[in-house]
């Protein structure tokens, strides 16, 4: 373990050093506002395409999806599909108009045909809201990663990321962020591919042991007898000392506390045709005096929860290993109806003065893993299905409205380059998302899931192939956080310095002032991100990312679409749409079952019964822009006037450049 730490620290330091070197090297390009906010518009489309992938494959996207697939199977992969499909909207509808209309920020493009202060203000606020909601899970992810990697506490991880990112952004802006994303995006895809190849070469086993490094743990089973409702084990080495009936999602599960020597642990009772059996579980117990016990003994470096996830039968064969398999065979074997996979669920209850959380195995058939249903209840109520549709709509429409993605269209020299870089992004991101299915299912079947936190499934899967891959993937995951946070802070600082201070407030008098303001704004936004990352420790990162997507799809996309395709759109309609989009999406999520759980309340009592608001908030935003535009005076600049204005600006710029040259 010590070797892992040393190598991880070395690789971590090398990658962070590389990132900082690129930043300082790129600083010379950030003297002007164009250089700082848009990398001077000189980035090659190929580099920009991979940088898009770097921006998009955030910690939540990489760690979150792999973790979700590891515990829910195909349902996690639905996120991959939805996130990728969103890029089609970006390419076919948004990419070139955004490049043509905008300059530095999302607000530029939205306001190009209106030049109204109200649009500038609201679009900047929408950018800030989406960026900050997207920043929180990235910073929380940094804290999650840094703990196993370097052993620092959560807050230290958040502060380290914050300081490095502020340094990157304040030093060189979009240029360094672009190259950081390019390096990180490339490394992420290459090493994900390496792990998938290694996974297929190793094949599947019913007793995964990380290539012989970690002995497979066989969970015990004891037959038992029930007398008058009390369960007693048949093995005299154990004595039943307590029993709990726990309601879990409409079913009652019986747990029995068994004493063996000085150790007492909770076992799950199951009865079938062959009789009653007790199955060994894992558990954390916090006693009344604050002591934490893991599986009956005090928590220590040596005594932690065991990693979980394995198959008990591969296509009907037990106690077997397949040897090398091709990728399709790998999926087919896991999804075979005669394959059995052990998933781990958890539940909590009180035992005297102790708080107990039990992690217990549930064996499911392979064919249920590779189709929807483990997480999304598609065979459940109408509301469950509508909730699923709502999520898929938000994922499809959210991507093309994320400000930190949209500003990357200004870093390339032309509309054609913007289009080509989006094609590269779709290729890179699509390929990576296909790999996530293998990474997630690989973790599920390779004893690579931490029962307490499935976000680390991909790095832990890498660890089963050796120290180097673990250290490399962990460092790349950390760089992922750095890159995404950099992009978000650039977007947010642009909203403050360019949109609010300059174009809305008229406070900026020179190019230099605008760059200085942007750097100061990056410092302030970075500090806020650090604070939020510490405050939101332990909050589900996927929930926060979903919120950002829902807000972006509701507040920004209707404006983009209507501005581009309906000449009747007015500035007041745009403002109404943004307000309705933000208020309805954020409002509905704050009253959703997920939020109710976060507040510590019963999710069933939540006033809004769905987790995903998109199916309501997105149409509401479209209705708002249509109705208000119909009721207000048209004020959109027509295309001819816009072109004439642009041509005059081009002539002025050329004249100014010629005069400067003389």
């Amino acid at each position: 373990m010590q070797d892992v730490k040393v190598l991880a620290v070395i690789i971590f330091v090398v990658i962070v050093g590389l990132v900082l070197f690129v930043s300082f090297y790129s600083a010379r390009r950030a003297k002007s506002a164009s250089g700082y906010y848009a990398a001077g518009g000189r980035i090659h489309w190929g580099v920009n395409g991979i940088a898009f992938a770097g921006d998009y494959l955030s910690a939540a996207s990489f760690l979150g999806i792999c973790g979700m697939i590891a515990v829910s199977g195909y349902d996690g992969f639905l996120y991959s599909i939805g996130y990728l499909a969103g890029w089609v909207v970006a390419l076919f509808v948004v990419a070139e108009p955004m490049r043509r209309l905008g300059r530095y920020t999302f607000t530029d493009a939205l306001d190009a045909k209106f030049n109204k202060k109200s649009v500038k203000l609201l679009a900047a606020i929408a950018t800030l809201v989406v960026s900050i909601f997207y920043l929180i899970p990235q910073m929380v992810g940094a804290g999650v990663l840094i703990n196993p990697l370097l052993g620092f506490p959560h807050w230290a991880g958040v502060v380290i990321v914050g300081v490095i990112v502020i340094t990157i952004v304040a030093t060189a802006g979009m240029t360094s962020t672009t190259y950081v994303q390019f390096i990180k995006g490339s490394l992420l895809i290459i090493f994900a591919l390496v792990i998938v190849v290694a996974l297929c070469v190793r094949g599947l086993s019913t007793e995964p042991d990380a290539g012989g490094k970690i002995p497979f743990y066989h969970y015990k089973t004891i037959t038992a007898t029930e007398t008058g409702g009390s369960i007693t084990p048949d093995d005299s080495a154990y004595a039943a000392v307590a029993q709990q009936e726990v309601a879990v999602k409409g079913k009652t599960i019986t747990f029995v506390k068994l004493q063996s020597g000085d150790i007492s642990t909770w076992w799950k009772a199951e009865s079938d045709a062959s009789g009653l059996t007790l199955h060994e579980t894992q558990e954390t117990v916090v006693t009344g005096d604050g002591e934490k016990l893991i599986n009956g003994a005090p928590e220590s470096k040596e005594n932690k929860l065991r990693l979980v996830g394995n198959m008990t039968a591969i296509a009907g064969d037990t106690d077997t290993e397949t040897g090398p398999v091709n990728p399709f065979k790998f999926l087919a074997l896991i999804g075979d109806e005669d394959s059995e996979i052990v998933l781990w669920k958890s539940t909590s209850f009180s035992d005297d003065s102790s708080s107990v959380t039990v992690f217990y195995p549930v064996t499911v058939s392979g064919d249920t893993i590779v189709k929807p249903g483990q997480s999304f209840k598609l065979e459940g109520s109408v509301l469950d299905r509508v909730d699923f549709v709502s999520l898929m709509i938000a994922l499809f429409l959210g991507t093309a409205a994320l400000p930190h993605i949209l500003i990357r269209y200004y870093t390339v020299p032309s509309q054609r380059a913007a289009r080509k870089s989006t094609v590269v992004a779709i290729a890179a991101i699509g390929f990576f998302y296909i790999l996530t299915l293998f990474l997630g299912l690989g973790a599920m079947t390779s004893a690579s899931i931490n029962p307490l936190d499935n976000n680390m499934s991909a790095p832990l899967l890498a660890e089963t192939f050796g120290t180097f891959l673990f250290a490399m993937i962990s460092a790349i995951a950390f760089a992922t956080v750095l890159g995404t946070v950099s992009g978000l802070i650039i977007a947010a600082s642009g909203a403050v310095a360019h949109d609010l201070m300059d174009r809305f407030g008229g406070l900026i008098k020179s190019e230099r002032q605008k760059v200085v303001a942007g750097r100061f704004a990056a410092l302030v936004v970075g500090a806020i991100a650090i604070l939020l990352g510490i405050v939101f420790q332990g909050v589900n990162v996927s929930f926060l990312v979903g919120l950002a997507f829902a807000v972006a799809a509701s507040a920004n996309l209707p404006c983009i679409i209507m501005m581009l395709f309906w000449k009747g759109t007015t500035s007041k309609g745009m403002v109404a749409s943004i307000v309705v989009g933000i208020v309805s999406s954020v409002g509905l999520i704050l009253f959703s079952p997920t939020a109710w759980e976060l507040y510590g309340l019963n999710a069933l009592d939540a006033p809004f019964p769905m987790k995903n608001p998109g199916i309501i908030s997105i149409p509401l935003s479209f209705i708002a822009i249509y109705v208000v535009s119909k009721l207000t005076k048209p004020d959109m600049i027509d295309e001819d006037t816009l072109h004439a204005s642009r041509a005059a600006e081009a002539a002025n710029d050329a004249a100014a450049a010629a005069a400067a040259a003389e």
Partner: protein, 93 residues
Amino acid sequence: MLHEPAAVSGIDEAAAYKRRLGLWMLLVYGIIYVFFIVINVAWPKVMGTIVVGGLNLAIVYGFALIVIAFLLALVYNWLCTRHEKTFEGGGKA
């Protein structure tokens, strides 16, 4: 200068063609995507049907959505570039 609304760029003669093409291709992909969602919510059991090589419809359709997105992107870029070149050459498509 600082208050200009946007970047200066030349008139894009091919913009109308690209916008139409983009909308048509979005419609094609949208139909495929919506059909995927409809199967999931209306006939979820169908997603478990083995389609090819031991892989079920859920996996094949999911991979297809990713691959089709890339193929449509290539076709869109090729058609747009070809159309833009007709203007660069002085002719009209």
